[in-house]
């Protein structure tokens, strides 16, 4: 067994620091992941991330499976928001194989993505509530998230893992009445938003707890490869949906809200504002969705050979840029798939820098507002 040397901080006095383990079995961490903190008093002196507890060897397993078999595997890479994996992977495969998918299917994909985004945002509110002790927030928001999961179940047959996307489109068409139900749900969610505002965003103590915590200036955010809402909360107007539009996002009318303070509160508020935009997008999709085929035919999976080449396909997920770097050598199986999770740089690298000098109270708040999702870097 390899003995790791103890990370004693710059004080070089073993009596002055002590070790505190945040995770894997700790209520303060999201998922099976661990930070080993060297503490000095109530403050963090040094951080050692310990990933790999969720390592499954996805990238290896995908090389062993057929192009379409992999669809069952990849949603499991990011559990709170599995659909981005499917869409990113399918987009990559379609690009390499030169398949153009019908508009109808593109709209369905946007609907699925945005619903997943709302679900993930609601989940992140729950995380903030749990880490600050506001347990009403998780109870409400996860309860509301479940309505979305119900709709997913109706649409795809699965609550969490949908395995609904397919190279060339989606697996089946939207059922009758589903869109009406979706609109109804959006109305409901919108009516719930003021309550969340009162509970979370206008809560003076929560503001006190989150304002100024984990301040992330814009240059540092760029330098450390931080993407998504966290980047926008630092004031950078960057959203792949706008800047490099995929699917039908260029046909939809929505804003990219920017909060810009760069602290934990801004990051949560950013998600709250984007949630509203997602509702807007979903309404438009439900109203504009054209009729047409939901997929194009692709060959028998055993014969489905993707031409040789490589492509990096990316999707704006609720946590940031989710990318698949797919390499094909013209076989029925991928030659190599690399998964770029948005939490990788935050959770494994930037944590080292930001957590030093942070109070122990702020550590879980920081983890949850950064929305660190361990499965996407453990893979």
């Amino acid at each position: 067994m390899e003995l790791r040397p103890l990370n004693v901080s710059n004080t070089n006095d073993k009596y002055k620091t002590y070790e505190l383990f945040i995770g894997p079995n700790h209520p303060g961490i999201s998922g099976n992941f661990s930070y080993v903190l060297d503490m000095e008093g109530h403050k963090v002196a040094n951080v050692t991330p310990d990933p790999g507890l969720l390592h499954r060897g996805f990238e290896k397993l995908m090389e062993r499976r057929l192009w379409t078999q992999n669809l069952a595997l990849i949603p499991r890479i990011c559990v709170p928001e599995p659909d981005v994996n499917e869409v990113a992977y399918c987009m990559g495969v379609e690009h390499l194989a030169g398949i153009e998918i019908p508009k109808h299917a593109q709209y369905i994909r946007v609907i699925v993505l945005e619903m997943a985004r709302i679900a993930a945002f609601l989940f992140s509110f729950a995380g903030l509530g749990g880490s600050t002790g506001l347990y009403t927030a998780p109870n409400w928001s996860i309860g509301d998230r479940d309505y979305i999961l119900d709709l997913f179940e109706w649409l795809t047959g699965g609550r969490v893992y949908h395995i609904y996307q397919y190279p060339g489109g989606v697996k089946k068409d939207i059922p009758d009445g589903w869109l009406d139900k979706l609109l109804e749900l959006l109305d409901y969610l919108e009516s719930r938003l003021p309550e969340y505002d009162n509970l979370i965003f206008r809560n003076p103590i929560l503001q006190k707890r989150t304002k100024g915590v984990g301040y992330l200036p814009a240059e540092k955010a760029i330098k450390n490869g931080i993407t998504g809402p966290n980047l926008r909360a630092s004031g950078i107007k960057w959203d792949i949906r706008k800047a490099q539009p995929y699917l039908v996002y260029d046909e939809l009318n929505f804003d990219i809200p920017i909060t810009g303070e760069g602290d934990a509160f801004a990051r949560t508020l950013q998600r709250r504002l984007e949630l509203e935009e997602s509702i807007k997008i979903l309404r438009q999709c439900a109203n504009q969705i054209p009729d047409g085929p939901y997929k194009v035919k692709i060959p028998n999976p055993f014969q489905f050979r993707v031409p040789a080449g490589s492509y990096y396909s990316k999707v704006e997920s609720s946590k940031g840029e989710f990318g698949y770097y797919i390499v094909s050598d013209g076989d029925v199986k991928p030659y190599r798939v690399y998964v770029r999770g948005p939490s990788y740089s935050v959770g494994l690298y930037y944590a080292n820098e930001i957590m030093r000098g942070m109070r122990i109270e702020d550590v879980p708040v920081w983890i949850h507002t950064m929305d660190i999702c361990p499965p996407d870097f453990d893979r």
Binding site: M1, P24, N32, G57, L61, I142
Partner: protein, 181 residues
Amino acid sequence: MSEWKELADYFRGRSMWMLHYCTGCGAIELPPTMTSRWDMERFGVVPMATPRQADILLITGYLSIKSLKRVVYTYEQMSAPKWVLGFGSCTINGGIYWDSYSVIKRLDKYIPVDLYIAGCMPRPEAILDSFVKLRELIKKGEAKGYEKYVKNFEWYKANQDKVFRRTTPVLKKPEEVTKSA
């Protein structure tokens, strides 16, 4: 004395404190189970922060070797009576990761599992159902995994050590392995 035991078992079945150890992706179905939609607190099941306080260890899905080591340590830190719920097909046979180099295949080779919940992933209803089933098992006195662990400690330890304490590479000759694949 047996009346006392029965009474104690009755209370144990009504108040099962669960260790919320997100070992795998199944953990995503636990928040809905805990919160307002399904509310497992109705059954006296409450998430606990540390293994010391917990009665149930819920293994929510696949376990990498690195995770398993920590789970075994955690399991040994819990005090008897304690129960393990294997959650999802990954704990039964490795599930979708059947050929992964990092994920263990059968949980009950390493720690005793009292109840498996099938599915990938099981719905919250299934989790709640497992709690009710476990309650019945406790009442009948059939859920004795912790005693099994003590009795067959060497067997479990040997299995664990095989995975944790390797001193030689598993694949000794990479060339041969490549040919056979």
